[in-house]
């Protein structure tokens, strides 16, 4: 089972066309294994991207270097998934 320990979902809001173009390029870089939950659309429109633990710091450094601000939308994806799984199992047990 694939685990997402340490994965974060970042919200990034491009402030100008240059940042927008950079994020669009980033969308096509498959090597970072970024998963765009909400794709790049327009200036001021939030982009949501899931970054695996191994590329998270690199991504944050790149964004900082480009002066692109971000906030974590989900701090630890696996923690949320564990919670979801727990809820499903509790429900299944209560049925039994």
């Amino acid at each position: 089972k694939e685990l997402f320990k340490g994965h974060q979902v970042l919200q990034i809001i491009p402030k100008n066309d240059a940042q927008l173009a950079f994020l669009k390029d980033l969308e096509d870089v498959l090597e970072f294994e970024l998963d765009f939950w909400k794709g790049v659309t327009a200036v001021s429109c939030p982009v949501h991207v899931r970054a695996p633990f191994q590329f998270l710091q690199l991504l944050k450094r790149i964004l900082k270097r480009k002066d692109i601000s971000y906030v974590p939308m989900i701090d630890d994806l696996q923690a949320v998934l564990d919670e979801e799984q727990k809820e499903i199992e509790l429900f299944a047990r209560s049925l039994k």
Partner: protein
């Protein structure tokens, strides 16, 4: 659960539970609901569609599908709730009763069953189908880029490792081809609503081109009515417009194809939320999401019923 009344609509369910739910609903409502299998997924699961019909032959019809993107769990869960809502409201809600006395409704609750099963058991974040891609270690095709409408144009990826991989050819995915064959053979589908999450949007063609559709004014005004009705319940705010203007260019998408097949009322939803939870919408939001979406669906279905073409 022994019947669909004791089914818990406030929880996410495994594929087997959804299949059982469908069979129970059919068994409980034999004069209204039947199950048809329109094809098989790559992993040989049945592609089941619930048909709500009060009789007649090849009546004008409305198509609704949920779960074409596997990880968008709120959509499959909403689809189950819609199915129960239809049988509950038929005979008591005059608008729905009118619709069903004259039209059929088809509802595919798990459009991408292989993907859904994979999200339940292996990778919660899976979006695509599960067919291997020859020559690549990456699996699956984005079934919302696989339709024969602007296929291969900008707005989809040719790389099998991308989440928006369009596939080797239009309708290469059996999950897509099954719907294509069904729609083409039926010939009388008048509204087609395909449901995604998340972003809170109601979108109409086109996605592959910025050229407006010839029905844009009507589609726009109906979308406005639908999202206004939706917001009346919990105040959830939706945006609306053509796919390309509202989100981004998306070629080979479902509703561009259905619209080009002559289905005027072709819409795609993006359900809750806008970024607090994303694809991990807490289960307690399933019923409220389905309830508010139902109001918008009713607006589209009623308009389709009252405006034959």
């Amino acid at each position: 659960p022994k019947n669909t009344d004791s089914f818990n609509y406030s929880r996410y369910h495994k594929l087997s539970e959804i299949y059982s739910f469908q069979d129970m609903l059919v068994a409980e409502n034999p004069n209204l609901v039947s199950k048809i299998v329109i094809g098989q997924s790559y992993e040989a699961r049945p592609l089941s569609v619930l048909k709500f019909s009060t009789g007649g032959t090849n009546r004008r019809a409305i198509w609704i599908d949920t779960g074409i993107h596997a990880r968008e769990w709120i959509t499959q869960a909403s689809g189950i709730w819609f199915a129960k809502k239809i049988v509950k409201d038929y005979g008591s809600d005059p608008a729905l009763t009118d619709i069903l006395n004259n039209m059929d409704i088809f509802l595919e609750t798990v459009t991408n069953p292989d993907g859904y099963d994979y999200t339940q058991n292996s990778n919660r974040m899976w979006r695509k189908t599960r067919k291997p891609n020859p020559g690549s270690s990456c699996v699956g095709v984005d079934p919302n880029r696989n339709w024969d409408s602007g296929f291969g144009e900008p707005g989809a990826s040719s790389n099998p490792c991308s989440e928006t991989y369009r596939g080797p050819s239009a309708h290469s995915e059996s999950e897509v081809k099954a719907i294509v064959d069904f729609v083409v053979a039926h010939k009388n589908i008048k509204a087609f609503v395909t449901i995604h999450s998340y972003s809170q949007m109601l979108l109409y063609p086109f996605g592959y081109t910025s050229a407006p559709s010839k029905d844009e004014a009507e589609l726009h005004s109906l979308a406005q009515k639908a999202i206004t009705d939706l917001a009346s319940l919990y105040g959830t705010r939706y945006t609306y417009g053509s796919i390309i203007d509202t989100i981004y260019q998306a070629s080979g998408n479902t509703v561009d194809w259905t619209y080009e097949q002559g289905i005027k009322y072709s819409y795609t939803f993006e359900l809750r939320d806008t970024g607090f939870h994303g694809f991990l919408l807490p289960a307690k939001q399933i019923v409220p999401t389905a309830e508010e979406t139902w109001l918008a669906l009713m607006a589209i279905m009623s308009h389709t019923f009252k405006n034959p073409y």
